[in-house]
């Protein structure tokens, strides 16, 4: 069931890849704008590069997450899906995994932009990749749940970030810290504890949101 739902989600995303491209351009434009907020100070830009990367990714994620339920709302497709003899949790996890994948690709695509704009190169590519994978997992689990609620409401563009932003503070903080340590060096070996925190956040919200999703979509 999960495999079938996941296949549907990935197919949907593949067919709307033009939108993905547009979100990437949005994220890159945000990174460009952040550098104007600091001014041409190479040292400061490098110091704040991790924060800018994650803020860019967070802002882009509100677009992709909101969009992920767009297709379900057309012709009341979600109700049709729920009528199938299946567990709504499979639908949730399929969508959350698809969103996670999309955000991971987006995050990896934004890294070169960050490196070029802020001169924030790093050799710790594996750590950086792990942080992006775990950090985007933290965004997509509650983000998918909230998108399911807000997609059915009038003011969805405002409500989704309003609900999501306060919630992902720990994930954002840990991701920024771990990314920053990968870029500026980690003499105290601190990044491991931030990655553990991130993994714990993911574990809690991937299980809790899966449990609660059935309640959110039931009629």
């Amino acid at each position: 069931m999960l495999a079938a739902a996941l296949r549907k989600e990935l197919l949907l995303q593949w067919r709307s890849r033009g939108q993905m491209m547009a979100v990437f351009v949005f994220g890159a434009a945000a990174l460009l704008l952040f550098s104007f907020a600091i001014g041409p100070n190479a040292h400061a830009l490098r110091t704040f590069s991790a924060g800018f990367l994650w803020l860019g990714l967070l802002l882009s994620s509100t677009l992709t997450l909101a969009e992920s339920f767009h297709a379900e709302m057309e012709n009341r497709a979600l109700e049709g899906l729920l009528l199938l003899p299946s567990d709504p949790r499979a639908l949730y996890y399929a969508k959350a995994i698809a969103n996670w994948l999309q955000l991971t690709i987006l995050g990896c695509a934004l890294v070169p932009v960050m490196v070029v704009l802020y001169d924030a190169g790093t050799t710790e590519l594996l750590t950086l990749f792990a942080v992006i994978v775990l950090g985007t997992a933290g965004l997509s689990a509650p983000g998918t749940l909230y998108a399911a609620m807000t997609a059915q409401v009038k003011a969805k563009q405002t409500l989704l970030p309003l609900l999501l932003f306060p919630l992902i503070v720990p994930a954002l903080l840990a991701s920024v810290k771990a990314t920053s340590l990968a870029i500026t060096g980690d003499p105290m070996e601190q990044s491991r504890s931030w990655i553990v925190l991130l993994a714990a956040f993911d574990l809690i919200y991937w299980s809790l949101c899966g449990l609660l999703y059935g309640k959110v979509v039931e009629e």
Binding site: M149, A155, L162, P166, K177
Partner: protein, 237 residues
Amino acid sequence: MFEMPKVSTSKTPYVFLALGAALFLFGSYWGLFVAPPAADMREVQRIMYVHVPTAWNWMLAVLFSFGCAVAFLFNNDSKWDARLEGGLEVGTLFAFLLCCQGAIWAKPTWGVWWDWDPRLTSTAVLLFAFLGILALRNFVEDPVKRAIWSAVATIIAAVDLPIVYMSVKWWNSLHQEQSTPQTVASPFHLPLRTNAFAVLFLMIGFIMLRSRVAAYRLRRELAAPPVRIGEEAGELV
């Protein structure tokens, strides 16, 4: 089943409010004029008599909201939704008051209005989380969906609170040790305890009244549309 909530018309919340207000006047008078000033912080320290009781009771309000949300998801009784609304709104108010009182205290003591301390930051994060849930409640017109979604969002936000606290604690820390009667010298006990109960009673009164308003609104929303005179119910014209 999601049924029409009963609305009690008892006078209990008014009793709590009156008791709380009287105790609050007494405790604050004692704290402001009778208790000695603290040696190192002088008069600024007197804000403790409202700040610390607000903080304690804010945590109770968050716990109460979490409890209402869980209770609602388990038995779908609309009275828990009305109580959740009261808890959320009073919790938001208290979080806002905490941030304001904290800033008033921090400026003369630390020299800054705001600091990235775990307690301060988690209060602010929860304030925004609760504001988001209240906004969600405002935008959802279907009472059943509104109740379920805000219960779900409340549970998610409440679970987040300890994680935010932990993560910000690792990140940075400067706040005073928490004040409890054990860490505070004995001349300060009386006003602090009095005000803690005063704020508790005020909070109970507010939550009860606010839940009553929420229950009235639910009744109006769930009521069948009125039948016009001269038209039988259920008859198609």
